[in-house]
């Protein structure tokens, strides 16, 4: 086997990430915690894999939706209790 055909045969296998590994790298990717080499491998994979691209988009969407969760409204009793707490602190301070 020539050197060239050897390279052609083995290069893709050593370079391309399996999707199963990609989904474990997504957070590090979004957090910018990957090394430049890992980042390149991931982006190379994403460019050719629509499912992983969709997966990444879904992770971004998940984060975006979580950020829109508003805290529940306070009950009037809670509000009253806390304002009493503030007034007591003022007197005590």
């Amino acid at each position: 086997m020539s050197l060239l055909s050897g390279l052609l045969r083995f290069r893709p296998r050593s370079r391309d990430l399996p999707c199963q590994e990609v989904v474990e790298m997504v957070t590090d990717y979004l957090e910018e915690a990957l090394s430049p080499a890992e980042r390149r491998r991931l982006e190379h994979h994403l460019a050719g894999c629509e499912h992983c691209t969709e997966y990444l988009a879904q992770m971004r969407e998940t984060i975006r939706l979580a950020g829109r969760l508003t805290p529940q409204d306070l009950t009037p009793e809670m509000r009253t209790d806390l304002m009493d707490l503030y007034r007591r602190w003022r007197i005590e301070g």
Binding site: C19, L65, A66, L69, L74
Partner: protein, 198 residues
């Protein structure tokens, strides 16, 4: 932190509206976070009440090395940890299932059951209340330590540095917990909104 500085000044000066605004903004958030550490709503409410008092009493010492919000969450977490029992029982970081169930990949590690589409559903077709409910259930289903990180990072919008400060964990640890938590939340959305019969 100019906004914080002026808020602290108003709080110290007895501005009730300033306190009312702060309470309105953070009380439920703190309650939600406290519930991750303690066994019941009643205990969580107590912890948050104690936290408010500690915040007021500590205002004179607040030095703006961190934001007011980070400082308040730190006080809350410390109190909740002292009170809580759930934290002690919670699974260690290494609990870790995979981000996506292994059965969805073929032997080569490529997708066998690819992600179902749901983004458009979430943005255009589902009403906000159903979506919020799905997210709440998803969050509540997370192991406590993952939930704490996702709440602070993604729901409250703290930076990773702030989250590490509030929870007293390392950056690497934070990332692992965030990864597990977000992955499960994504799965909850896919299961709730995706088209197929999974």
């Amino acid at each position: 932190m100019d906004a914080d500085a002026s808020l602290v000044r108003r709080l110290r000066g007895g501005d009730e509206q300033a306190f009312a605004d702060l309470v309105e903004r953070y009380h439920s958030s703190m309650l939600r976070l406290a519930l991750s550490f303690v066994p019941s709503q009643a205990v969580a409410e107590e912890v948050v009440q104690d936290t408010w008092l500690a915040v007021l009493r500590g205002l004179g010492r607040f030095e703006e090395r961190s934001s007011l919000r980070t400082w308040m969450f730190t006080i809350l977490v410390n109190r909740a940890r002292t009170t809580g029992v759930r934290e002690a029982r919670s699974v260690p970081v290494a609990d870790a299932g995979p981000a996506v169930d292994a059965s969805r990949f073929g032997p080569s590690g490529a997708w066998a059951v690819p992600p179902e589409h749901w983004i458009e559903e979430a943005e255009n077709r589902v009403d906000a209340a159903k979506l919020a409910e799905l997210l709440r259930v998803g969050l509540n289903g997370l192991p406590a330590r993952q939930r704490e990180v996702v709440l602070l990072r993604d729901v409250e919008g703290l930076s990773s540095t702030e989250v590490c400060e509030v929870l007293a964990i390392s950056e690497a640890n934070q990332r692992v917990l965030l990864h597990r938590g977000r992955s499960k939340l994504r799965q909850a959305l896919e299961s709730g909104l995706g088209g197929g019969a999974r």
